[in-house]
């Protein structure tokens, strides 16, 4: 795909996050050395001291934008990247740290730090796409490593990634799992949550907690009504939509609608 024999350059960037999504790359134990054979890992601080300067063919960006420094850095990353792909709920939706967006951030800072004036932070934790054009968003808290390999492979070959936007229910049915909501009355966010995890929560007898964020066209209002039939209190509906993808539009609006 590239002129001559030049290997495409891959960069991995971190903003506010737990490092779990970039760890997904290091967790590809069987594929890591093969990937390193096909791409030049040009910038990946968690894995290497070496830094290759210049432009990158593909930048993977983990984490949300929460500081003035990061606001500036993301612009530089965009300018130096042919393709920019955000990975994980922090980068695509603001992450769990976006819970501050519903509150006063200064109050939050003073709860954690004795000397709040030492801390530089923005009012809101926001997804990368709020600040720069993003070529693809890979969802999940954490991302699924097979989907990550698919996305890397797709961008390096100039094709569209095969990452389905449908709900967890599709994966759940395909695995032949008995519906936890219908059969056991367990509240589940599966119907409004994007697939990708492999429906692991229902497989472990637990309701989906929405870590892949909203699916393509979620009917959150209807699901909330079903939850209330199951006896879930309003404040628990708010909590359920307000976790790792709390600032994703569909989840945000649903949580606000149930907040008094």
């Amino acid at each position: 795909m590239l002129p001559g024999d030049r290997k495409p350059k891959l960069a991995v960037w971190k903003f506010a996050s737990c490092s779990g999504c970039q760890l997904a790359l290091l967790n590809c134990e069987d594929e890591l050395l093969a990937v390193a054979g096909h791409v030049e890992i040009a910038y990946f601080r968690e894995a290497s001291r070496a830094v290759v300067k210049g432009r990158y063919d593909l930048s993977l960006v983990e984490g949300s934008i929460t500081t003035p420094h990061d606001l500036e850095l993301i612009q530089r990353v965009r300018r130096r990247s042919k393709y920019l792909v955000t990975i994980g709920a922090c980068a695509t939706a603001g992450g769990i740290q976006a819970l501050r967006n519903f509150k006063d951030v200064q109050e939050f800072v003073s709860i954690v730090y004795a000397t709040p004036q030492y801390i530089e932070t923005l009012d809101k934790s926001t997804p990368v796409a709020d600040h720069v054009p993003v070529d693809f968003e890979l969802r999940g808290c954490p991302i699924n490593k097979e989907q990550l390999l698919e996305v890397i492979s797709a961008f390096l070959h100039g094709r569209k990634p095969n990452v389905p936007p449908y709900s967890v229910c599709m994966e759940c049915k395909r695995r032949g799992i008995v519906c936890v909501m219908v059969a056991h009355g367990t509240p589940c966010l599966g119907p409004v949550t994007q697939a990708g995890c492999g429906a692991i929560c229902p497989a472990y007898h637990r309701g989906c907690y929405g870590c892949f964020g909203p699916m393509e066209t979620p009917n959150t209002d209807s699901l909330s009504k079903w939850w209330s039939h199951l006896g879930v209190k309003e404040q628990d509906v708010v909590r359920a939509f307000r976790t790792f993808n709390a600032w994703a539009e569909a989840f945000r609006e649903e949580s606000v609608a149930h907040e008094k």
């Binding site: 490092s19 000397t115 995890c197």
Partner: protein, 429 residues
């Protein structure tokens, strides 16, 4: 007057964003700062108003490398507050998934993050070109740890199967059987890891640390015990705040944790090894002795051997657990919340992880305090550098910088955890 600065703005091969700054004036170290510039995510604030049952999954998001540690410290804090005991096979299963996390986290650090320093490679991928079989062994050791976490927890990063009271689903005995051969392979490979790490070149550097770790009468402590040190500390977890304080210093987003009476202390594999050597399995003790380690090890660079000993121990222990496993009748113990203060502490791969919550009569969290291992080790990292740099002052600047980075990586710092928590500058005058 001759002055210079050692600066590393963005430390590599650590988890998260940190920096180092060392100032040297007239061949004397005049300042050392281990900075954490990882953006604060304000977990202690965002936990307020959440249900007690949400604490394990929310706090897991502090760290993608040690989520089990967060889930376990949180779950056990709540259980002890509500007077619930999770014992028998449920307790054993928790120990098993925790062994998986130790294996995965330690193998990542030993082979991919730390070993390249000893052999002069920028990273493990470069190292793999000359030592493919060694890097492969590390990756496969790590993989089995991840598989154990994924099987018991649903996935290896942010597992979904742990809850206050136990699990959502527990495995049948038959489901665990396929792990026996993998764990046996891992135990042999970990023995090789101990032998191999013992052959690495180590600087002659020792410090008189205060080692703090959980200690348990019957086992190498992972999930519970008393907080014990080699200098006389012996307290229950709930007494933590009486003995430890956190200080906010201007140059770092991580609070510095100190012992009220004696100041700096060290947590993690080296601390556990020194406090609990007698509780290691006979196989792990023998491997440590064969590698030239006694029951006391004060050379932080040798933490790479100690981590390998703990990988070996975790494989050995996992095999013991799988052998004796019987499926519990229920996946979890019932929990009824009431107003209480909850205290929890477990041995994360990098050391003790303390949680404290105050909850109301409905089980809603009123406030939370989380103290990660790396914030406890920050002062120890700095204290090592104060002693280490003068001994190696004559090295060329690039090499000295690299050795300083290596000294920091001895701690396997996890910066996402500690921001409320790295960058390196060495300045010479």
């Amino acid at each position: 007057m001759k002055s210079r600065t050692i600066k590393v703005d963005y430390l590599a091969r650590v988890e998260g964003e940190g920096a180092l700054y060392v100032k040297i004036r007239n061949s004397r170290v005049t300042d050392v700062k281990f900075k954490i510039w990882e953006p604060p995510r304000l977990f202690e604030a965002l936990l307020r108003g959440r249900n007690y049952s949400e604490a394990p999954d929310i706090t897991a998001r502090i760290c993608g490398i040690c989520p089990i540690a967060y889930q376990m410290s949180a779950a056990q804090a709540m259980e002890s507050a509500f007077g619930v005991t999770v014992d028998g096979q449920l307790r054993t299963l928790r120990r098993l998934i925790y062994c998986g996390e130790w294996i995965e986290s330690h193998a990542l650090h030993v082979y991919l993050l730390h070993a390249p320093d000893f052999l002069g490679y920028e990273d493990a991928i470069q190292m793999a070109k000359d030592h493919p079989e060694i890097v492969q062994r590390g990756l496969q050791l790590k993989k089995v740890g991840n598989e154990l976490m994924a099987f018991l927890g649903g996935r290896e990063i942010h597992p979904i199967n742990l809850r206050v009271g136990g699990f959502y689903r527990v495995p049948t005995k038959r489901e665990l059987v396929p792990f026996i051969d993998k764990l046996k392979w891992g135990r042999d490979a970990a023995l090789e890891a101990v032998r191999w790490t013992a052959t690495l070149p180590f600087p002659d550097f020792e410090q008189d640390y205060e080692f703090v770790a959980l200690r348990h009468p019957d086992e190498y402590a992972i999930t519970e015990g008393r907080l014990v040190s080699n200098k006389g500390l012996d307290i229950a977890v709930r007494e933590y705040d009486d003995h430890f304080i956190e200080e906010h210093v201007p140059y770092t987003n991580a609070l510095h944790s100190v012992l009220k009476e004696r100041g700096v202390y060290l947590v993690g594999p080296l601390a556990r090894y020194n406090v609990n050597f007698d509780k290691l399995s006979p196989l792990a003790q023998q491997a440590a002795r064969d590698a030239g380690l006694g029951p006391v090890c004060r050379n932080p660079f040798k933490s790479i051997i100690v981590r390998s000993v703990e990988i070996l121990y975790a494989y050995d222990e996992a095999l013991r657990i799988v052998d004796g496993y019987e499926m519990p009748e229920k996946p979890a113990v019932e929990v009824q919340p009431h107003a209480a203060t909850a205290y929890g502490c477990t041995e994360a791969p990098r050391g003790i992880l303390y949680h404290r919550y105050r909850v109301d009569d409905q089980g809603v969290i009123l406030d939370a305090k989380l103290v990660a291992p790396t914030s406890q080790n920050q002062k120890s990292v700095e204290s090592d550098l104060w002693q280490f740099v003068p001994k190696y002052m004559d090295l060329p600047p690039d090499e000295l910088t690299w050795r300083c980075e290596q000294a920091i990586r001895n701690y396997d710092p996890c910066i996402s955890c500690s921001a409320h928590f790295l960058k390196l500058h060495i300045e010479r005058e």
